[in-house]
Amino acid sequence: MNHSQYKLFSFHQLILNIKDTLIIFAKEFGSVFNDRGVVILFFVASILYPALYCSLYRNETLVDVPIAVVDGSRSLRSTELLRHVDATRDVKIVSTYATIDEAKKAFDNREVHGLIYIPADFNKKLSNGEQATISTYSDMSSFMYYRAMMMATNYSILDMGKQIQVERLNAQGFTGESATVISNPIPYEAVILYNEGAGFASFLMPAILILIIHQTLFFGIGMIAGTSREENRFHELVSSKVHRGGTFKVVIGKSACYFLIYGLLSVYILGFIPHAFNLPHIGNPVDLMILMVPFLLATIFFSMTVSVFLPNRETGLIIFMFFSLILLFLSGISWPRSNISGFWQAFSWIFPSTHGIQGYVKINTMGANIHTISLEYLSLWGQTAVYFLTATWAYRWQIKKSSKKYQKESKEETELITK
């Protein structure tokens, strides 16, 4: 009898707990949608930012970078070489100068971003069977100019060089197979994987997409927490006062709300955007979803933990805005992870974005499956567990603090009345 009563009681309790959690969950939607700042962060930013960035970086590589030439040789060979350079996708010869000094003026005025100089003895040396040298000058204000210049000139020089080489070998009496063997003793092939066009957007955007999710969640949750602090009451406390031990319910109810919103947003950011803007997307959607669960949870609990320390709704944005950049560099997408010092690597493990970005890029861009990225996947679950505990602890601390204040206040009130 007693036993079944106990059972009944716990079942009843469970129902009540679920009901409370659902109330908190539903209420949280109210605090999200009734706050213009949060709506801007959660919806406007995470919908517009990916599209805007993708359109700005639409050109994956530079096309027809304007360059100048100084052709001291003015020969058939030099004209042919320059025509070849001009025909590449990377650069475009926009002006020809008689001297390097003149060309330098165009360079200084930033009309051109590169210069090719062909010396007067170019053709003579080629005719005499000697090695001819040309010079290139690259604008280093952006490495992408340099890259375009190198691609165009290297390709053209190698191509022309091969022709001349065969001619010279023939002249020395090597023909057919033996000429081929001498001209290219170790043929090599370079295969660029996953980002075949070496594109800038394909390289950077996947990381930015994850970062957008991470940062808008962080700032949005910070703003919600700051607002409730400003209003100087723990508005979820109302429901947790009714049933004791409400911290879990508060944390779970709130996080469920964020999780649902960002689960849907992730479909747009990680599913729609890469397709629409032709970014790499060879990942298995199921693997992506499996990864996103711990990533979103870890980010939510991490943000909830930090949010407890933000006194005002704007504080998070003002102090941590710059951190978006730090997180991008810590992820190891641009500056290689192998070359980040042990200290900063350890530091990077604090933030869900690090493994989130790496995991996402590996699945989405490199077609890895969830087993290949078990390091990232398990780390994200580890973070989820740790930050769930810290968030619960921080919320409990807050609830205790505010309920003490409530008690004190009501005590004072009763004292006032009795007086």
Binding site: S135, A198, M321, L325, P336
Partner: protein
């Protein structure tokens, strides 16, 4: 008249100094942020170029020749052979795990083919998902392979009795002599930090400007603020923002000193021009901050606008992806970002050491941003007096 204005400004200035030490946010969002960034970026990019990045080999031949080739690979500056794997599949997996950025595959009859002149092939697989690592490694191993095959060619041609003077002309008929203007070693620190540090600074300037003014409106202390300045909104804004102008300019100058004196990044003109530019840069962003809080004039909206505008500054500086390669509208749009003009001055002065005449237009552009607050003069004053905007 003038002295009255001076007195009003001084009073507001002193009031602001007190406010600055009253809450940690003022310190955290300026000095602490910049100090963190100095340490972070300078330590992260101390190498200049990433060296000895992990790669693998799939040596199906395992001959003395292939092992020699692997030793050569390991001796390159940017690559380091950390794994010897047995199959393509295994290598692909290590690459997907991110443990290696590239791998080199040599076929099983590599040596025998080489000896019998049947041309063995080598295949490089490079992961350009990590664009910097991938392209640097590819450049390095391609160069190494060219050298190796050049040495082989030299041997063969010598053995055939070709005249020494003709050998180089056969191996490489056209050579290229590359000059990297301004940054001869392609140092990533030079390339990125010259914009990253000012980039973080502009975020700080925008946010603290909006916060310093917006918090008066939000906390409903704006009337006291205006009274301190004897009801002159000009004196109120100037006196309030002057302490930040000083602190943020000093932080910007510390960035300059760290980049040019401590790290010895290229500086081909007087450092004084960079100091002046930094000062104008701070003023320009303070002006934009005033406009943002004047327009809204709600703290939270001003902060959101600043955050978005500040983050887009990194894109519109045009230092990674050049502006002229973006859609046409963004070229015009980029002129609205002071960091774009800062970048142009930096390239002209520090990187290329051009005549200062080249930088007059961007400097005037920076200066002209300071006119903008006039457009919100009345709106801001009315908001400060009437306090008729929501605080949330």
């Amino acid at each position: 008249m003038l002295s009255n204005l001076q007195i009003s400004i001084t009073k507001t200035f002193k009031r602001e100094l007190k406010r600055m030490v009253s809450r940690p946010i003022y310190f955290l969002s300026t000095i602490a942020v910049m100090t963190f960034c100095y340490v972070f970026f300078l330590t992260l990019f101390s190498e200049g170029q990433p060296v000895r990045m992990p790669i693998a080999v799939v040596d199906l031949d395992n001959s003395s020749l292939s092992r020699q080739f692997i030793r050569n690979l390991d001796a390159t500056q940017q690559a380091q052979v950390v794994m010897r794997l047995h199959s393509h599949k295994e290598a692909r997996e290590e690459m997907q795990k991110g443990n290696i950025y590239a791998f080199v595959e040599m076929e099983h009859d590599f040596a025998s083919k080489a000896i019998s002149n049947r041309r063995p092939t080598i295949t490089f697989y490079v992961n350009d998902t990590y664009l910097i690592a991938g392209s640097l490694i590819l450049k390095d191993i391609t160069y190494m392979t060219e050298l190796t095959s050049g040495a082989m060619q030299q041997q063969v041609l010598r053995a055939k009795g070709i005249d020494e003077s003709r050998i180089m002309g056969i191996i490489q008929p056209i050579a290229m002599d590359t000059h990297l203007i301004g940054n001869p070693w392609a140092n990533y620190g030079t390339y990125l930090l010259n914009v990253m540090l000012p980039g973080v600074l502009q975020l700080c300037v925008l946010l603290i400007t909006v916060f310093a003014i917006g918090t008066e409106l939000k906390d409903r202390t704006s009337r006291v603020w205006l009274e301190t300045a004897d009801n002159s909104i000009f004196a109120a804004v100037t006196g309030k923002l002057l302490p930040y102008t000083i602190v943020l300019t000093v932080l910007g100058i510390i960035s300059n000193l760290l980049l040019y004196s401590y790290m010895h990044y290229p500086l081909n003109s007087s450092i004084g021009w960079m100091f002046l530019t930094t000062f104008l840069f701070v003023l320009a962003y303070q002006a934009i901050g005033i406009v943002f809080i004047g327009l809204t004039p709600v703290l939270r909206d001003g902060v959101t606008m600043s955050a978005f505008f500040g983050l887009f500054g990194f894109t519109f500086a045009g230092f990674t992806f050049p502006i002229e390669q973006m859609p046409y509208v963004s070229r015009i749009f980029s002129d609205l970002f002071p960091i774009r003009h800062y970048f142009n001055i930096y390239v002209n002065q520090a990187l290329y050491g051009l005549n200062i005449g080249h930088s007059i237009v961007p400097m005037v552009a920076l200066l002209s941003f300071t006119i903008l607050p006039l457009f919100v003069y009345h709106r801001l004053k009315n908001a400060a007096i009437n306090q008729n905007f929501p605080i949330k």
